[in-house]
Subunit: 261 residues, 2 copies
């Protein structure tokens, strides 16, 4: 399975030059690259730093946005994972959405909101994402800060996920390089799963982002990694044969299941 | 608090040249370096690869060994953390032992035994280590493979530990560099704790070891790191002031406690 991760430039979202057309361009580029799945950052619409009012407005049209994006997925036959605000009755969720050709949309609401900005704009989710089939993989979703808690990836792996997609918006600064370079691949390694972490780079009106997007294999190695400053499409081929070695060397899920307590 | 981590050469254990006298030398060197605590690898006695028979014999004299080492700790006023086999009725545990001046010994039995060699020689422990005061810190113990499971360090941190001591014997080979360089510091980072990982280097009759011992700070940075091949005393000063920054940036334990479910 070929994955195209889009590390997007936050300045483009800020200028309003992107939006749905930008996502269309990503799907077109992913198809040209022979990818089966395009993976975009957290709040790809309307941009992470767009502010609570814009996030709420985007959330209230989420149903039609998802329908429109699902059409594009059907046309291109390229699946799409991205972050999007989604209205849920009176509240707004910071969601990850997975759209596959011929399948119903999957929506997951971020559990661990980060900082005052997100707590002011969103209500946290309380349940793990569905784990759904895509190609040879079983896919689970997280958003950004969620992945820094080992409990979240473990819960998905125990529910059968072997590919975890994480739209993210990692604020640049102390700790961010460690998270991107050490913590994120550790989540893949300690569960013997593939993990894709699609980040913004550059800055919008409110925040600067770390870049360093990554696709990690079940051995923790980077199959693809973005730089700190430049937007990029990162293409990685995910091969289920890569599970065997790590799982034989360190059967973490099996050992845990067999252990007391 | 000054910690002296001893990355020991497995060939010395193999030759029988070391043993209790070797531990005495470590305590003396630690004292000369002004250290408050000496940290040695897994099964420092009789050596990780000594075989089931030697491990059982060592385990059966563990009470007198611990008494003898406690005397040395009282004399040198240097605390000692090391791995040791310990008899527990008819079974043998792969234990971590912490000896502090003027305090009762703390013994923890490894929960996650690694591979056929350990499963043939030991029975697994089933409870987390006590968390005990030492200087400005609250100390918890793990052994080797335990630390690769995020659940173990999390449980100690939730029980109040802010310094986790891990005697280890990391087999050289695929995955070991990732564990030493990425996973181990991630455990410190994701719990905002200090973590000391004291490994063997070189080889004994059965195994080769990875080295790459490490003292990690609560920001995941290496305060000291050993090489792959050479034995070394690594000295690190642990300052409780280092907790504030990481805990303000990412209050993982607090967020987890506040989260549903």
């Amino acid at each position: 399975m070929r994955l195209a991760l889009f590390q997007l430039d936050a300045a483009a979202a800020r200028s309003g030059a992107d939006g749905l057309l930008g996502i269309d361009r990503c799907l077109a580029r992913a198809r040209e690259a022979g990818a089966d799945l395009a993976h975009l950052p957290e709040l790809a619409l309307p941009g992470y730093g767009a502010g609570a009012q814009a996030l709420r407005a985007e959330a209230e049209r989420a149903a039609e946005t998802i329908a429109r994006l699902q059409e594009r997925v059907e046309e291109t036959r390229v699946a799409l994972a991205l972050g999007l605000p989604v209205a849920d009755g009176p509240v707004v969720r910071n969601a990850a959405v997975l759209l596959r050709p011929g399948e119903a949309p999957v929506v997951y609401a971020k559990r661990f909101l980060y900082g005052d900005y997100e707590r002011g704009a969103f209500s946290p989710g309380t349940i793990i994402s569905p784990v759904v089939a895509f190609g040879d993989f079983r896919v689970g979703l997280l958003v950004c800060f969620d992945v820094e808690f080992p409990e979240t990836v473990r819960a998905l792996a125990q529910a059968g996920a072997d590919l975890v997609l994480v739209p993210t918006a990692l604020p640049a600064g102390e700790g961010a390089r460690f998270i991107a370079r050490s913590l994120v691949p550790t989540r893949a390694f300690e569960n013997s799963v593939f993990l894709s972490y699609a980040d913004w780079c550059g800055r919008d009106a409110r925040f600067a982002y770390q870049g360093l997007s990554m696709v990690a294999g079940p051995d923790g190695a980077a199959l693809a990694q973005g730089g700190e400053a430049q937007p990029a499409m990162l293409v990685a081929d995910l091969d289920p044969a890569a599970f065997a070695g790590p799982r034989a060397a360190n059967n973490y899920l099996g050992e845990l299941a067999d252990s007391t307590p």
